[in-house]
Subunit: 236 residues, 2 copies
């Protein structure tokens, strides 16, 4: 599952970072070698929708959200990125969403051209990028499947997913607002609120501000309507 991300990306230096089993973030030591590290404060933009997509980023600490606007002026949160995860890799020349830091966030940026060159030279890296792209697609597909389920299932999925991605067992500190969660899951912030309340009343979670304490992870997972989770990485 997700727990290994830290093991894979947070552990020591050396180029040739060992790829831990089960990690869903590619080993991108070259990222650190070739990229420059930047710090962003709460709400600050890392890039903006429509800009030339010349950099690909990896989160070091903090959380990043990518957002876009629908033609009707509604905001959509496309994804949250946790430490170790990659964002900003686009199919065409410009970013299709804006990226903003939530809280204090450090990211490493790597030029897209450089990354392409590195991938061309290093088959392992290439395979890992493949895997990462496929994972991204899978996540988006999960989200589109989530669109079919009701508010409780969406929130349950969100909490379970976030807990996995941050290696959290009992207490999950959510850095994002109810509005962010709502725009991510396609709900209204009021419904997000009420759903948290329902989960509290059912004894599945407790909340303290933006922190969530898991009281019954088993039943919470049961609510999560997502399909079976993938296990391993592409075999080249």
């Amino acid at each position: 599952m997700f727990q290994d991300i830290h093991a894979a990306t947070g552990t020591p230096p050396t180029p040739q970072l060992p790829l831990s089993d089960g990690s869903r973030a590619p080993r991108l030591a070259q990222f650190a070698a070739g990229g420059r590290s930047e710090l962003f404060g709460p709400g600050h933009a890392i890039y903006t929708q429509g800009e030339a997509a010349s950099f690909v980023y990896q989160v070091v600490f903090g959380v990043v959200r990518t957002t876009m606007l629908t033609r009707h002026g509604r905001r959509v949160v496309r994804e949250f990125y946790m430490p170790g995860e990659i964002f900003g890799l686009e199919r065409n020349g410009s970013y299709t969403a804006s990226a903003e830091a939530i809280g204090n966030t450090r990211v490493i940026g790597c030029e897209r051209m450089r990354l392409a060159r590195l991938a061309a030279e290093d088959p392992m890296l290439s395979v890992e990028l493949w895997s990462w792209l496929l994972l991204n697609g899978e996540r988006a597909e999960h989200l589109s499947l989530l669109g079919r389920s009701n508010a409780i299932e969406k929130i349950a999925h969100f909490l379970v997913d976030m807990a996995q991605r941050t290696s959290v067992n009992r207490r999950l500190e959510l850095p994002m607002s109810r509005y962010d969660i709502a725009d991510y899951l396609g709900l209204s912030s009021e419904t997000v609120c009420r759903t948290f309340k329902t989960l509290r009343e059912r004894g599945l979670i407790a909340t303290e501000g933006r922190s969530v304490i898991f009281l019954n992870m088993r039943d919470l997972r049961r609510l999560d309507g997502a399909p079976a989770q993938p296990q391993s990485v592409i075999q080249a």
Copy 2:
């Protein structure tokens, strides 16, 4: 729009596989060279969810749908694949969905191992696969965005998208049932029906059985709530 991919990747070198203009699929001549062609009748399974994902496929003619079941027994259509398009490339070892032919369908299957080897040797092919994967992710993201819109916008998007992918201007022959469309868009078949009726009443389309005649493509596109369409292809 998407048509430009062909300009970037479809330049007609080397062997076979007549890829139609306007195709959104990578040029994969190697597919034809290395793969074996198979014919499937209506409803026949090409592969099944959970099976070892040893082959990657390309549609020659006909249409393929990939489906899966939610844990509550509801069927979900994940994607339709048109001639020239690729399906069956999975991140892990087994297919996450089943693939079935709609109508008489011919596909070319290529061993995943072989494809990986070919991609490792041929940087162009590798880039094209990247692009394809990113496109897949984008499509899934579009779908998850669609989850936020109402029935009319979903159907409008579906029709416009299908027309683009099949290079159709006025008359679109839909091979799939209302149930397929419903399970694809996360609607009930009744709602799909009623929405077609609404579009007819508004003078945007006419229908003859499963055929759709576009009477006012401009307004139909206006209904399509999808975000700005991407322009070109990844530059390596």
